[in-house]
């Protein structure tokens, strides 16, 4: 049987399965919820389609890149939403597959696959931002447990999360990269306190999380004690890939992203004509028009570069250092886009609340402010520039 025949058969199999199993109410809904979502999660998990590339023995689909692409294409065709998302599936799962022992995988992967456990990430601390390895949250071994004290910040979704994967210092006397461990624990444990953070753009999903004598099972330490930094770095690569958006899984999602972006673009030009006037089909302000053209042109070149990178990378290879470039460029570009929108809207972009500004205008204000965080979260632009200079260009320290 040729590879193509095999893929064709798989495609028709997927198509039939989706027809029979996708709840009608979920079709075309990007962010589904409710009882049909629970059903969908059960079915996708059972069929191995929730996390198609993960090994079958842990509940994944065991599919290769080509089959995964077929599955994604068919799901996109009928508007089937993914059954699970978030930190578990995109960040913790791959790391567990690489670093965890068999028992840990069996304990934690199903919860991710079936969407039963919400995960959050305990990384940054007030004194450890770009210099993440200087983190101070202590974990002390006591019998078959660790006792954790300290504080995390920028923990996204902590108010909704069930469990946390967390970097802790297990050897305070070792050089800073050599005393860190990677551990999982239940966020409902006594001693955990979660406080939401208010951003300059308003309420946010970010939290501060405080630990006071929190007990975590030692069996939930991933890898070797004090060797957690290796895991931490790998996980950051996955984060960077996630944040730069749409360049992960081959060309299909890339094309879809390009389509969405094109739509958004036309929207921008129309919006600019509305606020600045239309002179013979052109945006009436020639200087802003030039800036918009530059931005769109950069966006086009950026998307083509993500496609080129995906095409170059062999299937199954982890994200390379180009992830830094994409993270850097995407966040800087979004900041420019938001600045430009503000310039176009003028004082109509300055609204915070109330009816004098429509929903788009109010959204603009908040998004402009929120975009300032793009180049800080998930590794600052400065960190990405350092990585590119060192890893890609080979410039000396």
């Amino acid at each position: 049987m040729s590879a193509t025949t095999d893929l064709d058969e798989f495609r028709s199999e997927v198509r039939t399965w989706l027809e029979e199993n996708l709840p009608e109410t979920l079709r075309g809904r990007a962010w589904p919820s409710g009882s049909d979502l629970a059903l969908w999660r059960q079915r996708m998990g059972d069929r191995g389609f929730a996390c198609p590339t993960w090994p079958a023995e842990y509940g994944g689909g065991g599919l290769d890149a080509a089959h995964t692409r077929v599955l994604q294409q068919e799901m996109a065709r009928v508007g089937a939403p993914p059954s699970v998302r978030g930190f578990g599936v995109s960040m913790l799962g791959p790391v567990l597959l690489e670093f965890a022992n068999d028992a840990q995988k069996r304990e934690h992967l199903p919860g991710i696959i079936y969407g039963r456990v919400n995960w959050c990430q305990g990384y940054s601390e007030p004194g450890a931002g770009s210099d993440l390895a200087s983190l101070q949250t202590r974990a002390v071994r006591e019998g078959d447990e660790y006792v954790i004290n300290g504080q995390k910040i920028w923990t996204s979704g902590a108010t909704e999360a069930d469990w946390m994967f967390c970097l802790v210092r297990t050897d305070p006397r070792a050089p800073k990269h050599d005393g860190i461990s990677f551990i999982l624990f239940d966020l409902k444990s006594p001693g955990v306190e979660v406080r939401p953070i208010r951003l300059i753009s308003g309420a946010s999903s970010f939290c501060e999380v405080f630990f006071k004598d929190v007990h975590a099972k030692a069996s939930n330490l991933i890898g070797v004690e004090n060797a957690g930094w290796t895991i931490a770095k790998r996980l950051l690569q996955h984060e960077r890939t996630m944040l730069s958006g749409g360049m992960g899984g081959g060309t299909a999602p890339g094309r879809a992203a390009a389509g969405r972006a094109a739509q958004r673009r036309n929207g921008f030009a129309d919006m600019a004509k509305k606020y600045l006037g239309d002179a013979d089909g052109r945006i009436a302000d020639p200087v802003l028009r030039d800036q918009l053209a530059q931005l769109e042109l950069d966006g086009l070149c950026y998307r083509l570069t993500t496609l080129r990178s995906a095409a170059s990378a062999k299937a199954g290879q982890g994200p390379g250092h180009t992830a830094s470039m994409f993270k850097l460029y995407a966040s800087e570009m979004n900041k420019r886009r938001q600045e430009l929108t503000m310039s176009v809207l003028g004082s109509q972009g300055l609204g915070w609340e109330g009816e004098a500004f429509d929903a788009f205008e109010r959204g603009t204000t908040r998004q402009w402010l929120r975009s300032k965080g793009n180049s800080i979260e998930g590794g600052t632009s400065e960190v990405q520039l350092n990585v590119i200079a060192k890893r890609v260009l080979g410039l000396p320290d």
């Binding site: 940054s124 007030p126 004194g127 931002g129 770009s130 210099d131 200087s134 910040i153 920028w154 953070i197 208010r198 951003l199 300059i200 606020y275 600045l276 302000d285 200087v287 802003l288 900041k335 600045e339 503000m342 310039s343 176009v344 809207l345 003028g346 004082s347 109509q348 972009g349 300055l350 609204g351 915070w352 609340e353 109330g354 009816e355 004098a356 500004f357 204000t365 402009w368 402010l369 300032k372 965080g373 180049s375 800080i376 979260e377 600052t380 632009s381 400065e382 520039l385």
Partner: protein
């Protein structure tokens, strides 16, 4: 040239700086915001400031003013910019005082200017009708009706509009939106029939309103200046407001810059102050140059107003373009260099980012004023 402060001016600067740091630090604005204060500034504090002579700083002594010039006003507003003081300087002390002084009858002057100087009266200019600033793009109509006029139209971004005792409404008695000719200014009590004022909550937590005028009857006495020649009154007042706002922006950007340099010296990452990283050093040095250039042009533009120089408008546009763009650069860099903490509402630097953008878009941004600068220079 007036590019250095006199001893008297230095004294004024210190007085203002000490006062606002104590009585109107950034916390003052935060508190007004968090308590959803209905006025949006402190009437008590405004009275105190008026008692110090600040509300009537450019008014002649006969009207209770201090009789000082724009150089002094600039010093005052620069210091107020440093702590983002939200009290109604631009609307009342500059625009209101200027337009009433130049356009109102003696009786009106006597009544209103005294009120301004004492911190009792707040005025607001109801001018802009769209998001992008464009001074003659006025569609609000003033139709002749009996002995007077009837005003109808909608005004946005009316600074301090919701607390103003009277509005100065720019309306069109002839011509079409975009024409310089045909504008007329009207002094309209906020309580007038047909006037509807809605406060808008702005990103910089300052005061602004939407004003709707529906067949508002006004008499001939309420006209400021000459009918149809409102632009002759408006233009110099807008220039003065623009340079005043530039001075405020200079304070905003200088403070944001100084706070950032301080943060670079104290924030430790990788066991060293982040200000020791060369890439950040260079960016800080670039900002320093821009800050210095901003200071120079603001001082010269203020002096040009006081001296009545012919090219004052060019200098004003240069000052607004330069301070707008530098404030944008400095506050964006500030948030980036503060990192995560700069993104939190708890840290004050975000207030500077918001204020810088709002002030940039008030009375014309960099692009608007570069265009005007080029035009005034004959290209």
């Amino acid at each position: 040239m007036a590019l250095v402060l006199t001893e008297e001016q230095q004294l004024l600067q210190e007085t203002v700086r000490d006062f606002v740091r104590e009585k109107a630090p950034v916390k003052h604005l935060r508190q007004l915001r968090d308590t959803n204060d209905k006025v949006g500034f402190s009437r008590d504090l405004w009275k105190e400031m008026a008692d110090l002579g600040w509300a009537g700083i450019i008014l002649p002594e006969e009207h209770g003013g201090s009789g000082l010039g724009y150089a002094e006003l600039g010093i005052l507003l620069e210091e107020c910019g440093r702590t983002l003081v939200p009290e109604p300087f631009l609307s009342t002390v500059v625009l209101g005082a200027e337009l009433i002084q130049k356009g109102a009858s003696e009786a009106q002057q006597k009544e209103i200017l005294g009120g301004i100087a004492e911190g009792r009266t707040v005025l607001a200019l109801a001018h802009q009708e769209q998001g992008r600033y464009s001074p003659y793009a006025v569609s609000t109509r003033a139709e002749a009706a009996g002995d007077g006029f009837q005003l109808s139209g909608k005004k946005t971004f009316v600074l301090d509009g919701h607390v103003a005792d009277s509005l100065i409404v720019v309306a069109r008695t002839s011509g079409a939106a975009g024409d310089r000719d045909g504008l007329t200014l009207f002094l309209v009590p906020a309580e007038s029939a047909g006037v509807s004022i809605t406060r808008t909550v702005m990103v910089d937590s300052r005061n602004s309103a939407v004003v709707e005028l529906s067949n508002v009857a006004v008499s001939r006495d309420q006209v400021l200046g000459d009918v149809g020649a409102g632009a002759d009154l408006l233009d110099p007042a807008l220039d003065r407001a623009t340079v005043a706002l530039s001075a405020q922006l200079l304070g905003v950007l200088t403070e944001a810059f100084e706070r950032t340099v301080e943060y670079l010296k104290t924030r430790i990452q990788f066991d060293v102050p982040i200000g020791s990283f060369q890439a950040l050093k260079h960016r800080a040095a670039v900002m320093f140059c821009e800050v210095e250039l901003s200071k120079s042009i603001v001082m010269d533009a203020l002096a040009a107003i006081d001296e009545g120089r012919e090219n004052a408008s060019q200098l004003v546009s240069a000052a607004k373009a330069r301070t707008s763009d530098t404030a944008g650069l400095v506050t964006r860099e500030a948030v980036q260099m503060f990192g995560g903490i700069g993104m939190t509402d708890e840290e004050e630097i975000g207030f500077f980012l918001k204020r810088a953008r709002a002030a940039e878009l008030t009375l014309g941004d960099g692009s608007f004023h570069r265009d005007r600068f080029a035009q005034l220079n004959g290209y």
